[in-house]
Symmetry: C2
Subunit: 143 residues, 2 copies
């Protein structure tokens, strides 16, 4: 195991700073569209799923009571809808509305633009390398 402290600090600091950079982009773009990061994530999940409240809580790693409020606010804004589950009259499936879909799409495009701009300084080869390394990290931790 390597314990070179400079190397360690570098990689940790770098990844932490990078995460803040990306989150700042997400926050800024979100704000421009009247969306917080968590709402951005919510709509992102709903782009290709109609999960129950409980499943949403799991996806977002939040308490179920937090999901109630999150969905409430999004629903009030017409971005999302609760549909009574056909199988279980207790539960709902949450789905995105056309308005919500439009909003995420616009937001996502802008996020892509900004993140791309952030890696503009890398060469083609470096970007490919980065993708590879990031995949390896994510594959390592995301089960």
């Amino acid at each position: 195991m390597n314990n070179d402290p400079i190397q360690n600090q570098s990689i940790v600091d770098g990844l932490v700073q990078l995460s803040f950079l990306v989150q700042e982009i997400l926050g800024r773009v979100g704000t421009e569209h009247g969306l917080s990061i968590i709402q951005l994530r919510l709509l992102g999940i709903l782009r290709d799923r109609e999960p129950s409240m409980r499943q949403l809580a799991k996806h977002l790693n939040l308490d179920k009571s937090s999901i109630t409020g999150l969905v409430d606010r999004a629903e009030r804004r017409g971005l999302v809808e609760r549909k009574v589950s056909p199988n279980d009259r207790r539960g709902f499936n949450v789905c995105i509305t056309p308005a919500g879909r439009e909003l995420t799409q616009a937001g996502n495009e802008e996020i892509v633009r900004h993140v791309k701009a952030a890696v503009e300084g890398l060469t083609e080869r470096e970007r490919a390398q980065l993708v590879m390394l990031v995949r390896k990290i994510l594959g390592n931790t995301v089960k």
Copy 2:
């Protein structure tokens, strides 16, 4: 310019997911020590500085009124102190207390452990590559 959509999506998705992974680590470690991410950042800044409220607002990219509350809560917990500025009787310099310093140190060590664990799957050479690439990105955007 390369516009391969797969490549684009990969790099953007990857960096976004990676940022959430790191932020989750920060959040989890913070929670274990009774600190939110923003408080972690606050203490981090104060490790080697004694900024004014206004400077803190700039560092953290928050409104000054948000800083009042943030520092209030940290001060109430004995992590931080307001010291009247010697030059300007309106202003304060915020400094970390020994208790605050202890807390950040403990937190930081744990963050290092967890982030290191996340890149454990990479080889020595890959980690060095990653550091280089991340530096290049950060140098690109952080002015």
